[in-house]
Symmetry: C2
DNA sequence: TTACAGCCTTGACATTTGTCAAGGTTTTTT
DNA sequence: AAAAAACCTTGACAAATGTCAAGGCTGTAA
């Protein structure tokens, strides 16, 4: 599992083997079966998590018991609850494996130390956060200026492979529409 | 104008006068009258911008000519188009002064250099980005799980002073609803 | 195999939100 | 002061989306 992370980092910025060893020392490897949880609402999230394999979903449950998916996280992406991570508050999100997965966890304090020792890593993480920010902003955009149909079309364009990996009702949840509406939007698009 | 930025930074993290002088050397001070633009769609955004005074709005225009407000930025906040900044693409957003404003611009290349020279600044900017990310994520949340009425209630809670500074139709635009819907939501809330 | 659970679709109907048009008020400009 | 523009509200109606219920399909478990 670690070699995937190793290759990923090497592809992203120059990192020596000595530097990678620092990460290796503190990395926690975790295998998750489908439906196992990485984080449950109420717990405090204290890691940086890299998904080597599989697919995680982050969701939240509202007062009516409805699930709302905030993020899909496939292999080679990072996941976690940044709000809980930063503030120390209990998480409002659940993170669950939707496929059998392999995840590397790096405890917050360790990761901070290592980032300070490896400036290139620190810069990379900064870039990553910047890109996540941009992605989120585009999503807000999509939410406030598009109809259900346009949002779905944009989803397909932005995450083309995701549509094969998760059921439609989860895509609906991610988009903030009901499964019925998504179903109708789709049958409408077919007619074109 | 610079002293406001000076005080802001001092309040946020320890910074020496020598360090601040580095920033001062490259800082561009700009005064904007209401309705003047800081950025226009199509231009490339190359600054980090701190608002000392006033209020900026970032918005986008869709195919039908409709404006959609992405961000309000009052004094003591940072603004800009991060997508254009990071990728070098032409901006899709407009940034306009909604009140007479004073803004400090720091060119991207200079800011990067200074951040590398002042680790505490770099860490602070990282924290800031992290918090912006969290705020955006909460907004996505609100968008996908709430009705117009709930979104407005949450807006009032999250940005209590903003409701006194901008007209209602701009709040509607920010929330992704029509002014008429907002008006009805408000009259409905009064009845409670 | 049978039974079951999860998933997707469809129809009928309710609710929410958008659109268009009008009017009144306030603010800004001339 | 007068005129114009911006802003907010309201009504009537249309369109989009949600809710509820039913049914069929598919893959998995017993």
């Amino acid at each position: 599992m670690l070699h995937i992370f190793h290759d990923y980092l090497h592809a992203k910025f120059p990192i020596t083997e000595q530097e990678f060893a620092l990460i290796e020392q503190v990395a926690i490897q975790r295998r998750l079966r489908k439906r196992q949880y990485l984080l449950q609402e109420g717990d405090v999230w204290k890691y940086d998590a890299f998904v080597c394999k599989g697919l995680m979903r982050t969701y939240r449950v509202d007062d009516k018991g409805q699930e709302h998916i905030i993020q899909f996280c496939p292999e080679n992406w990072w996941t976690g609850d940044r709000q809980s991570y930063v503030t120390g508050e209990p998480a409002r999100y659940n993170i669950e494996a939707y496929e059998d997965s392999e995840v590397i966890l790096i405890p917050k304090a360790d990761f901070r130390e290592i980032r300070m020792k490896i400036p290139a890593l620190n810069n990379f993480i900064f870039d990553l956060l910047e890109r996540s920010f941009i992605a989120l902003q585009n999503r807000v955009n999509s939410n406030i200026m598009h109809t259900a149909e346009e949002k779905y079309a944009q989803f397909l364009k932005t995450y083309p492979d995701m549509s094969n990996r998760v059921p439609l009702h989860m895509i609906a949840s991610f988009l903030g529409i009901t499964p019925e509406t998504l179903s109708r939007v789709r049958s409408h698009q077919l007619k074109k």
